[in-house]
Symmetry: C2
Subunit: 342 residues, 2 copies
């Protein structure tokens, strides 16, 4: 445990090898990771977590680069977690991201790590959540969670973010079509990137229309016109205390529109901090995270304590001596005791 | 429970309302679903499960339609599960799929259902797995699991399939680039669809190259040339008893190449049935499924039995009286007993 104390100190000092080692313990689901996280939690900092997702080809990576540059100019410490759940088997770094981010490599105020491994049952978002607590303790000011795709796992990961940015670009064909209801729900801010290309305004309009459609069922008639018009940043709606995702045009490779984007993030952060609705969202996320931690701890403990029984169950199922549902039921009874405790 | 018996009878008779009701019980995680699944399992049939995934725009849906037609012509009963994990909040049907599949609507030998809901922690692949057992019991001959995207959840779902088809198309830009190692690993058969378009051969070659790269690290030198040449269907490699994914060209909207595709499926099925390597794959999948069922049952039971304690833990975490890791640890000890049973 002396070892863990040293590690916690290293994390607090933002010592890069210590941070990398902590991430590795979490990735590998090392039993010491749980103890580390308990300790790290008491030093919980206040990094602002931005989730960035969007369709491939939208220039997301260039945009994240631009954000790093902007925040660094403000003297803030930035960590980036690049998340690629489509590579469960490659187990490691995303080469492209590594190369792309080399320019920040010598900057001690920037920490970049790829997360590609995952355990069972939503393990990716769980281990990302754990790594976040390490970065909080290391007192980074901003953490960017950059996801590669827009699948369910990516949406799940963005739930760990304070603010989620969805990046799109004009002329990606069925881009908008491919955007499912899910992404509208998770987006706090939209960026239509590559706004110097033809069709940027059309993409903005498509988005506005989809957002207004989303809002109609809620029966707030007056919102309809409100959401359907402005192209630029709108803050939280004062009367409903509901966040209306602004749609911003950016041209990241020329660093255009990024200041406005960062302003929109700040406004969303105020919404979370200063309104009741924002506090409710924060509490819900804390509950979700707690449940995920609880379930994972439960599974890990059963796997450890009842290793023999689980192996036996596996054999029974594989060799056809029982159906998986009945065997699982018996095992659960064994683990929890067959009568409810009182 | 008399009710459940009637439901099981309805399922066995492929009564559509009964099938729909069973799917609903599973989707909604109704407590009766577990009992239903135990009963259904004893009637386990032998539907051949084909997973279909691939990039949007590759004509996947048209191809699935063509497969349904082909299997129906052979007099086989076909079920299709359309899986869309990017719509967790829309909770229901995929409108496009419903419309597209209307042509099969009056055919009693075809059952089509969309799965869009999901619970916590890999719930989508879990409930899809449960629905599969219902379809087995209903003695469908073929089940097609069609996924919308190529994210992690979709890859997860394809693990429930006997054979996974990955559909691509020429001219989708960074299509191939976007294909991650993960998809090469899950693909049992590749279809380059829209093969009447320019660039089909280039796409086939790109795929061949990626497959050969994948194989080189395994050090089977002689395989290299073998994988890099043929454009057409190759069966399992006799000498290594390893499945080499064939790459087939299809033009689904003209029903071209689909017979060859179905032949490739049959060959892969033989590989699974008749080789040791195939049996190992089947056993691994059964183990994975059993673990997923076990963990979900464990979580459900703890949530039910320790509802008050879990609520209290939630309050402690939200109100900052404890860190989530310590509170979870205490709860796990409470549920499992603090000393290891012997």
């Amino acid at each position: 445990m002396a070892d863990l104390s040293t590690l916690v100190e290293g994390i607090r000092a933002r010592d890069m090898p210590a941070l990398a080692r902590a991430c590795r313990l979490i990735d590998e689901r090392d039993p010491r990771a749980f103890e580390l996280l308990k300790r790290v939690f008491s030093h919980e900092g206040h990094a602002y977590v931005i989730g960035v997702t969007g369709t491939p080809g939208s220039g997301k990576s260039t945009l994240v680069d631009g954000l790093i540059r902007l925040y660094r100019e403000q003297g803030l410490r930035v960590a980036v977690l690049a998340i690629d759940p489509t590579s469960p088997y490659s187990g490691g770094a995303i080469l492209g991201d590594r190369i792309r981010m080399q320019q920040h490599f010598t900057d001690e105020g920037v920490f970049i790590r790829s997360i590609a491994t995952r355990g069972h049952l939503g393990g990716l978002s769980r281990s990302t959540g754990d790594v976040l607590h390490v970065l909080h303790a290391a007192e980074f000011d901003v953490v960017i969670l950059e996801t590669v795709g827009v699948g369910q796992d990516e949406l799940e990961v963005t739930r760990l973010a304070d603010t989620t940015l969805v990046v799109m670009a004009p002329g990606l064909g069925d881009d908008i079509q491919a955007i499912k209801a899910g992404i509208l729900e998770v987006a706090d801010v939209f960026a239509v990137n590559k706004a110097d290309r033809a069709g940027a305004d059309a993409t903005v309009q498509d988005l506005q229309q989809m957002l207004s459609l989303r809002r109609i069922p809620k029966g707030v008639g007056k919102m309809q016109g409100h959401t359907a018009v402005s192209t630029f940043h709108r803050g939280p709606d004062e009367q409903t205390e509901e966040w209306v995702p602004p749609i911003l045009k950016t041209t990241a490779h020329r660093q255009e529109g990024l200041t406005e984007l960062v302003d929109a993030f700040a406004e969303h952060r105020s919404f979370l901090d200063d309104t009741d609705a924002g506090q409710v969202i924060r509490a819900q996320r804390r509950i979700e995270e707690f449940r995920a931690i609880l379930y994972q701890a439960l599974i890990d403990e059963v796997d450890a304590r009842f290793a023999d029984e689980v192996s036996e169950g596996v054999r029974d199922v594989v060799e056809g001596r029982g159906d998986p549902y009945s065997v699982a039921e018996a095992l659960v009874r064994r683990a929890l005791g067959s009568v409810s405790e009182s």
